[in-house]
């Protein structure tokens, strides 16, 4: 049985799609058959971050409406056999996603896949709600910044009361904190909320800290999930995060300030 994981945050621009792309890629790199679905109907973007935008023929809504089969709509990753992408529709019809339709697609995917990663849109409207409704686990992507933390708390409230697991009342959605765009140097200066602050406020277990990194932008420029970028801090942080999700014991890194030596100061090594 497949495990369904929603990547959510409430606030936009905190790194949901970046995280979805790298997380799904990481699971596939570790040998798990993984599908990643873009729930942002009308504002499709996961395809760009995954570098498959020119191969989108059918999308999520086409499958729901029976205009294409799941097999036709799933885009197979060029590098990883086990990774498949289901793009969002560009329709402006905000009722295009239905609970029954989403449930059917997820059930069909669950036959074949180990993991289904749902990339939620920002906000708490229908797309975001449906992305989290069927989830077994949730990655709550948060920036160390007031509006992001408050929105994450709001989303956690919805997950614990409105998700299917919560409605059934048997278990609850397993929540994981993913703190992104973290800058330990600014934390040390008292300019940024610390990891401890965010953990204390949101009170959910930490899965990983992804440091602010220039490679997130450069990788998105070329449509490569940052986890594939060897030697980038953010990429390494995502590899650690995936390993931890799969049960490995991996210590957290990139959470304290890296003091630059004189050499790297002079020659600008990064």
């Amino acid at each position: 049985m497949a495990k369904i994981i929603v990547v959510t945050s409430g606030k936009g621009g905190v790194g949901k799609t970046t995280t979805s792309a790298s997380f799904a890629t990481g699971l596939a790199m570790r040998g798990h058959k993984t599908a990643v679905i873009d729930f942002d109907v009308g504002l499709r973007n996961l395809d760009l971050i995954m570098g498959v935008e020119r191969r989108v023929v059918f999308d999520f809504v086409n499958v729901i409406n029976g205009e294409a089969t799941l097999k036709q709509a799933l885009i197979k990753d060029k590098h990883l056999d086990k990774l498949h992408i289901l793009a969002a529709s560009q329709t402006r019809d905000k009722d295009a996603l239905t609970t029954e339709g989403v449930e059917k697609v997820l059930n069909d995917l669950a036959q074949d896949f180990d993991f289904i990663v749902c990339d939620s849109p920002a906000g708490i409207e229908r797309g975001a709600f449906l992305a989290m409704y069927f989830a077994d686990e949730a990655l709550v992507v948060t920036n160390p910044e007031v509006s992001s933390v408050r929105d994450s708390d709001r989303v956690l409230g919805i997950l614990s009361s409105k998700a299917r697991l919560a409605e059934k009342g048997e278990t609850k959605v397993k929540e994981h904190l993913v703190l992104t765009r973290y800058n330990p140097a600014r934390v040390a200066k008292g300019e940024m909320l610390s990891l401890e602050d965010v953990k204390e406020i949101l009170a959910i277990p930490l899965l990983g800290v992804v440091p602010e990194s220039s490679s997130v932008l450069t990788c998105s420029n070329s449509g490569v999930p940052v986890i594939r970028e060897e030697g980038s801090d953010a990429g390494l942080a995502y590899q650690d995060l995936v390993a931890r999700f799969l049960g490995d014991e991996v210590p957290h890194r990139f959470i304290t300030e890296q003091k630059k030596g004189l050499f790297s100061k002079l020659f600008g090594a990064t």
């Binding site: 910044e145 933390v149 708390d153 008292g190 909320l193 602050d197 406020i201």
Partner: protein, 84 residues
């Protein structure tokens, strides 16, 4: 004077401010006040109207909240009467 800040031991710690503000905002959100029933503001106005038939109270003398305790929802109305 801005340059004086440089010498102060206690630097401008905005992260601390952020945390304090967040703790409050999040507590409010969790208390259910932020997403309480939509009739709350009207109920508040009408109750205030009834009270004002008898006593003149300023707006800020009235505190109104819905709290969830266990399975119960408790409507709490606090009116501070003015000194006679």
């Amino acid at each position: 004077m801005d340059w004086l800040k440089f010498f102060r031991a206690e630097k401008n710690n905005t992260a601390k401010t952020a945390k304090d503000r967040l703790m409050l905002a999040v507590a409010y959100q969790r208390s259910g006040q932020a997403n309480g029933p939509s009739y709350l503001p009207r109920l508040r106005e009408e109750l205030l109207g009834v009270v004002r038939k008898y006593i003149q109270v300023p707006d800020e003398a009235v505190q109104f909240s819905v709290q969830r305790e266990g399975g119960l929802e408790v409507l709490e109305l606090n009116i501070t009467l003015p000194d006679q």
